[in-house]
C-alpha cells in the first residue's frame, strides 16, 4: 500500500464518519455541518482522483449551494436551538436494516463485476483538455452531443424557479 492509497482510505473514513455523525446527531444545525464535512470529503476524493473539475463543481453546487440552502431552511424553523426528539425505536431499527441491505447490495454488485476496473489508458488524458471536451460534448449538435438534455436542464431550472416562488410567496398577507 503506497502513500496515495493511505490518503484515499483516510478520506473515505472521514466521509463515512462525518456521514454517520450527520444522521445520528440530535442537534439540527450540527447535522448540517456534518453533512458539509461529508460532502467536502467527497470533493477531496474527487480531487485525489485527479478530477479537479468535478471536485470544484461538487464544492460549488453541493457545499456552497445545497448546504447553505439547508442552513437557511433551518433558520426558518421555529425551534432550531432545541435538540431534536430522539426517533422511534422502530424507525431506528428499520433504517439500520435498510442501510445494511444497501451496503450488502453494493458489495454484491462489486464482487460480481470485480473485473470492472479503470484502465490506465482511460486515465491518461490531460485534465485541461477534458474540461473543454465536456463543454464541447455538452453543446454539440452531432449524433453524440448532449444539446437536447442541456436545453431540458434549463427548463428544469425554470420549473424549480417557479416552484420556489410558489413556496416562498405563499405567506399570509401582512406577514413580515
Amino acid at each position: 500500500m503506497n502513500a496515495s492509497a493511505v490518503v484515499f482510505y483516510i478520506l473515505s473514513a472521514f466521509i463515512l464518519a462525518t456521514g454517520l455523525l450527520a444522521v445520528t446527531s440530535r442537534k439540527i444545525f450540527r447535522t448540517a455541518i456534518w453533512l458539509l464535512f461529508s460532502l467536502t470529503g467527497v470533493a477531496g476524493l474527487y480531487f485525489w482522483l485527479g478530477m479537479q473539475f468535478i471536485a470544484a463543481v461538487q464544492v460549488v453546487v453541493y457545499v456552497g449551494g445545497i448546504v447553505v440552502l439547508i442552513i437557511f431552511s433551518i433558520f426558518l424553523t421555529q425551534q432550531s436551538g432545541k435538540d431534536l426528539p430522539s426517533p422511534l425505536r422502530r424507525r431506528t431499527v428499520f433504517s439500520a436494516l435498510a442501510a445494511c441491505i444497501g451496503f450488502a447490495l453494493t458489495c454484491l454488485l462489486l464482487s460480481r463485476y470485480s473485473s470492472f476496473r479503470v484502465k490506465e489508458s482511460d486515465y491518461d488524458f490531460a485534465p485541461d483538455m477534458s474540461i473543454s471536451a465536456i463543454g464541447n460534448q455538452l453543446l454539440s449538435t452531432s449524433e453524440h452531443g448532449y444539446v437536447l438534455p442541456f436545453e431540458v436542464i434549463s427548463i428544469l431550472l425554470l420549473a424549480a424557479m417557479i416552484g420556489c416562488i410558489v413556496i416562498a410567496m405563499k405567506s399570509k398577507p401582512g406577514d413580515k
Binding site: 455541518i33 458539509l36 479537479q52 464544492v59 456552497g64 447553505v68 433558520f75 485534465p127
Partner: protein
C-alpha cells in the same frame, strides 16, 4: 537580475540536489506553507494599518501615530493584546461550532491563496481549474459565518449572519459571471494561462466595453462579498454591534478580522489578475520599445501595485457611499446586476466569436 522566480528556482534546485525527492517535496511544502502563513500575518497587519491610515487621512486626522515610527507598529501591539485576552464563550452557545467557525473561516481564506500568482513563476500551486477553484473554495466561507452567527446564542449575531449569508450568496453569482466573461476570452481557467494571454495588453483594455462592465460588476460584487462598506450591513456597528462576531473575543476575534482582510487582498488580487494582467507589466500591442521599458520594473512590484491600488479603491468606497438597506442590497443584485452580467456575458462572447477584441 535578481527576481523572485530565480530565488525560488535556485532553492528548488538546491533542495532536490541535496535530498531525496520525498524529503525535498516535504521540505519545500513546509517552506511554502511557512512563507504563506508569514505573508498572511504581515498582510493582516499592513492592511489593518492601511485601513486606519486611509480612513484617517480621508477624515483629515492623523490616525494611529504613537506606537513605532508614524504608528507603524500599532497593529502589532493590537495583535499582542488580543492574544492575551480571554476567549469568552457565551452561555447557551454551541461550544463546538462556536470554536469551529473562526477556524473554518481562516482555513478557507488561506486555501484560496493557493493559486494566486504573486510574481512571474511564483505561485503555490498552478492548478488547472484556477479561477473555478477560487470561486468554489470561497463559497465555503459563508458557512463559517452562518455557523458563527447561529452558535453564538445572540440575536445580533444571528441577524448579522443571516444578512451576511444572503448577501454573500447573492453577489457570488455576479462575481462568478464576471469571472466567466474573462474565461471566455482566455479559454482557460488556469491562472498562468490567463496572465500569459495578457502579454499584449490587459483584458480591461483589450476586451472593449464588456470587459469594463464586468470589471465594474466584479468590483461591486466583491465589495459586497467581503462585507465591506457600503455593503457592511452584516456588521453594521450602529445597529448590530458587530454582526456575526459580536460574541467573539481574543484570538478568535482576531482570526475573523484577519480573514476579512486576507479576503479583501485575495479578491483584489484576483481582480488584478483577471482584468489588469496580474504580474504582467503594462504592455501595449506591438510597441516593443515601450514594452521593454516596462519590463524593467519587477513583476512582483506590478502585482503588489495593482492589488494595493484596488484595495485602496475599496477602502475609498467606505468613506464615499452611505450604507444600503438589506432589501436595497438584494434588489440591486437580483434586479440589476445579475441580468446585466448575463447580458454582458453574451455580449462578450459575441465579441470574441466575431474577433472584435484586440
Amino acid at each position: 537580475m535578481l527576481s523572485i522566480e530565480n530565488i525560488t528556482h535556485s532553492i528548488d534546485v538546491w533542495l532536490y540536489g541535496t535530498f531525496n525527492p520525498t524529503a525535498a517535496l516535504l521540505l519545500e511544502s513546509l517552506i511554502v506553507g511557512l512563507c504563506a502563513i508569514t505573508l498572511f500575518a504581515v498582510l493582516g497587519l499592513v492592511l489593518v494599518l492601511m485601513e486606519r491610515k486611509v480612513s484617517a487621512y480621508m477624515q483629515i486626522r492623523l490616525g494611529p501615530n504613537r506606537v513605532g515610527p508614524g504608528g507603524a507598529l500599532q497593529t502589532v501591539a493590537d495583535t499582542l493584546k488580543l492574544a492575551m485576552k480571554e476567549g469568552l464563550t457565551p452561555d447557551g452557545a454551541d461550544k463546538f461550532l462556536f470554536n469551529l467557525a473562526p477556524f473554518m473561516v481562516i482555513v478557507v481564506a488561506m486555501l484560496i491563496l493557493v493559486p494566486v500568482a504573486f510574481a512571474k513563476g511564483t505561485q503555490i500551486w498552478d492548478i488547472n481549474i484556477g479561477v473555478l477553484y477560487i470561486s468554489a473554495v470561497s463559497s465555503l466561507s459563508v458557512i463559517g459565518i452562518l455557523m458563527a452567527g447561529w452558535a453564538s446564542n445572540n440575536k445580533y449575531s444571528l441577524l448579522g449572519a443571516m444578512r451576511s449569508g444572503a448577501q454573500i450568496v447573492s453577489y457570488e453569482l455576479s462575481a462568478g459571471l464576471s469571472i466567466i466573461s474573462i474565461v471566455t476570452l482566455t479559454g482557460s481557467l488556469r491562472i498562468s494561462d490567463i496572465i500569459d494571454s495578457q502579454q499584449d495588453g490587459w483584458w480591461l483594455f483589450k476586451g472593449h466595453i464588456p470587459a469594463m462592465i464586468s470589471f465594474v460588476i466584479f468590483i461591486i460584487a466583491v465589495t459586497a462579498e467581503t462585507n465591506r462598506a457600503p455593503f457592511d450591513l452584516a456588521e453594521a456597528e450602529s445597529e448590530l454591534t458587530a454582526g456575526f462576531h459580536t460574541e467573539y473575543s481574543g484570538m478568535k476575534f482576531a482570526l475573523f478580522f484577519l480573514a476579512e482582510y486576507v479576503n479583501i487582498f485575495i479578491v483584489c488580487a484576483i481582480a488584478a489578475t483577471l482584468f489588469l494582467g496580474g504580474w504582467m507589466p503594462l504592455h501595449i500591442g506591438h510597441w516593443t520599445a515601450f514594452n521593454h521599458a516596462m519590463d524593467y520594473i519587477p513583476s512582483s512590484l506590478w502585482f503588489i501595485g495593482k492589488t494595493f491600488f484596488l484595495i485602496f479603491v475599496i477602502m475609498w468606497f467606505r468613506w464615499t457611499f452611505p450604507r444600503l438597506r438589506i432589501d436595497q442590497l438584494l434588489s440591486l443584485e437580483w434586479k440589476y446586476l445579475l441580468p446585466l452580467s448575463l447580458f454582458n456575458l453574451l455580449l462578450m462572447t459575441l465579441i470574441s466569436i466575431k474577433g472584435w477584441h484586440f
